[in-house]
Amino acid sequence: MGPRLLWLSLLPGLALAQGAPLPVPTKTACTVEGMLDEVRVAMKTGSPAYRKYARLRLKEAAIAMPPEALGRAVSEERDPAVLEAVGAALATKASNAQKPELLQPLLSRASQDADPGLRAAAVRALQGSPSVEFMAKNGDVVTYEQLVRDSSPEVRKAVVENLVTESSGIYFGHNPELAEAAVKVAAASGDPAVASRLLGEVSMEAASPEVVRKLTGQLRSEDAGLRAAAAKALGGVPGSESAGARRSLTSLYRSDSDLAVRKASLEGIARLGQAQSRPVLESLRGVDKRLDPELDAWLSALQKNLQEWHLILREKQRLSP
């Protein structure tokens, strides 16, 4: 290497700028195989931006793709990230075409694959589709109640994420079937963490009287975590159910000695009545001295007479997280 070249090699940026032309992608026809290959490459070696692009592009293209090709890919794929991407494309196609039967290969992977990572990926692929409704339309051959009993925590976590996302992201909390699914799946799970998260985060705004009854029944669960989650969830039931829910929660606060359950009962009571719940809360002072500061925080937050629950909760958390 001569002195001049050595000098240039110390400035790689300059050398590059003057050397090889910048690679610019060129447009090409889209094929199913080409797009699947792209997803595989992206999931294996791509940047986060490229992985997102490949997933989205496949979803977008799925609408025009033959369902058999996607179904085959879902049945055969061995890489969890790719299965999730291809499965999500199939779920998008199923919901776009209103053909719940297209989900069958994905539901089979979710319930039957030997590899827990692939089962979890198949469950995650359902996220963002109306999966509760579509499972029912497939004859409830595979249900979340069944999937949540999976031996793998990763699968159970995926079930919870799907229900929470479906309730808030697709139905904005206003769906009675999701409220029912959350209560049933929580009861079926046998996993207190799963049950707590489901009851804590899936909206009960549209819960039917029957679902409210089941939820109230969970206040007697042996697991304190589940009792606390049910107490918190009861705070969100429809106005027509609020009188009964308030009685249940008041009684729970007096009788259940678990601190977390009592704390959740206070939240449920505060939510049901908002500013009007102050006398009920006052009546509970002294039942458990450890929780009087918590009770005071609720009373202070409610004193402001805010009318939206999210604002009340924010103020309360400022006073006492």
Binding site: A17, L22, P23, V24, P25, T26, K27, T28, C30, T31, V32, E33, G34, M35, E38, A42, T45, G46, S47, P48, A49, Y50, K52, Y53, L56, R57, E60, A61, I63, A64, M65, P66, P67, A69, T92, S95, Q98, G128, S129, P130, I170, F172, G173, N175, P238, G239, S240, E241, S242, L272, G273, Q274, A275, K304, N305, Q307, E308, H310, L311, R318
Partner: protein, 385 residues
């Protein structure tokens, strides 16, 4: 309101903004970088929503290497991704724009964000490209920059501010740069002062509007991170009461909607005056909206009562009524009854709210979901009013 059924399933927060008649954004002249995110009218299932937007799929024929009509695909993208540099992504932007491939543009933008990361020099490179490029390229570089942590490096912030203040540039270019400042976590008093000056500069046009929005968005960020809103709100309230541009005044008063701080008692006095005196109906309605979330709901009710008789526009009166309910819930019903007595056109609203509270519901977000609309008061984008 024709889209009422859609609102039933929309996010509560957005519903409040939309249905309470305060979501408003600029007309076509500034729509590209217009206000807060427009309302999302969601449907019960993604399927229904998608069906409306996408033509039925063509008859599917399974076969090898069948070409998919949409969207476009690219050779060499994986290689570009692997060896990406700012320069190589910059070179690819033109092809993506030419092909009108918005997904590819979004990818390049996000990849640029990843490459910039925390590096202020790379961030400044994006600013330089943005300043020298023709639309739509500047927006791509500035959006990429906005999402990178380097945008909060003092050198980068200062450069963006300097460009935004440069009166020799087109106002839309200054506006785009101001938009890139909205992901700051905090503004110093000096920075707030400089942005406020742009917001109040009559000649700044769309830059004044975006400056106002940026102040409001950083207020939201700072409030959610630290609980600080007062200094920003003071500036916004000044803008909302002194700007000659109605759209800027309106936006200044709208911005707290996105973080809902509990406004202090002094603000109630100022807003009450705006509600009684601003010459624009929209601005009076916005002031009424703002009064619904304060530290002192009773004082807000008094302000609505004081403004009612002097207000002759039915839509603004309807705004006083519903925001009084939002401010004080069932406690507002006596005042609402008084309004209905004075103006019988509001009687059905009183009856509706009374029945809704009697049903046991307390959260206003849910009350509002059940409320029927009886007035044709929502101003559609670009519509004369």
């Amino acid at each position: 309101m024709t889209s009422r059924p859609l609102f039933k399933v929309a996010l509560a927060g957005l519903v409040l903004l939309v249905a309470l008649g305060v979501v408003w954004w600029r007309g076509a002249d500034r729509a590209d970088d217009a206000g807060p995110p427009p309302p999302v009218a969601a449907t019960p299932s993604t399927a229904t929503a998608s069906n409306a937007a996408v033509a039925p799929p063509p008859a599917a024929h399974a076969g090898p290497r069948e070409e998919i009509p949409l969207p476009g695909c690219w050779d060499g993208l994986a290689a570009l991704d692997q060896s990406a540099t700012l320069e190589s992504l910059h070179a690819a932007v033109a092809s993506a724009i030419q092909a009108r491939d918005t997904a590819l543009v979004a990818y390049l933008q996000e990849r640029l964000t990843e490459l910039v990361g925390k590096d202020p020099d790379r961030a400044l490179q994006l600013v330089a490209w943005a300043v020298n490029a023709a639309p739509p390229e500047p927006a791509i570089y500035l959006e990429a920059l906005k999402a990178a942590p380097a945008v909060r490096h003092p050198r980068v912030t200062e450069k963006l501010l300097a460009v935004a203040e440069n009166k020799s540039l087109f106002t839309q270019d200054r506006a785009a740069v101001l938009d890139a400042l909205e992901t700051q976590h905090h503004f110093t008093p000096e920075t707030r002062g400089r942005i406020k000056a742009i917001a109040l500069d009559e000649s700044a046009d769309s830059a004044a509007w975006v400056a106002t929005r940026t102040l409001g968005r950083v207020m939201k960020e700072d409030y959610e991170r630290t609980g600080t809103y007062a200094p920003y709100w003071k500036d916004l309230l000044d803008i909302g009461t002194t700007s000659d541009d109605t759209a800027v005044r309106l936006l200044a008063l709208e911005m707290p909607s996105y973080s809902n701080p509990l406004l202090d008692s002094d603000s109630i006095d100022t807003l009450a005056k705006v509600m009684r005196t601003d010459k624009e109906r929209d601005v009076r309605e916005m002031a009424a909206f703002r009064l619904a979330v304060t530290e002192d709901p009773q004082k807000a009710l008094a302000a609505y009562r004081a403004a009612f008789d002097g207000e002759h526009d039915l839509c603004v009166r309807w705004a006083f009524l519903r925001f009084a309910v939002r401010a004080a819930g069932a406690d507002a019903l006596p005042l609402v009854e008084e309004f209905a007595r004075k103006d019988p056109r509001l009687r059905q609203d009183y009856l509706d709210f009374k029945a809704l509270y009697a049903s046991g519901t307390t959260d206003f977000a849910r009350i509002w979901m059940g409320k029927k609309e009886h007035h044709d008061c929502v101003v559609e984008e670009g519509a004369p009013h």
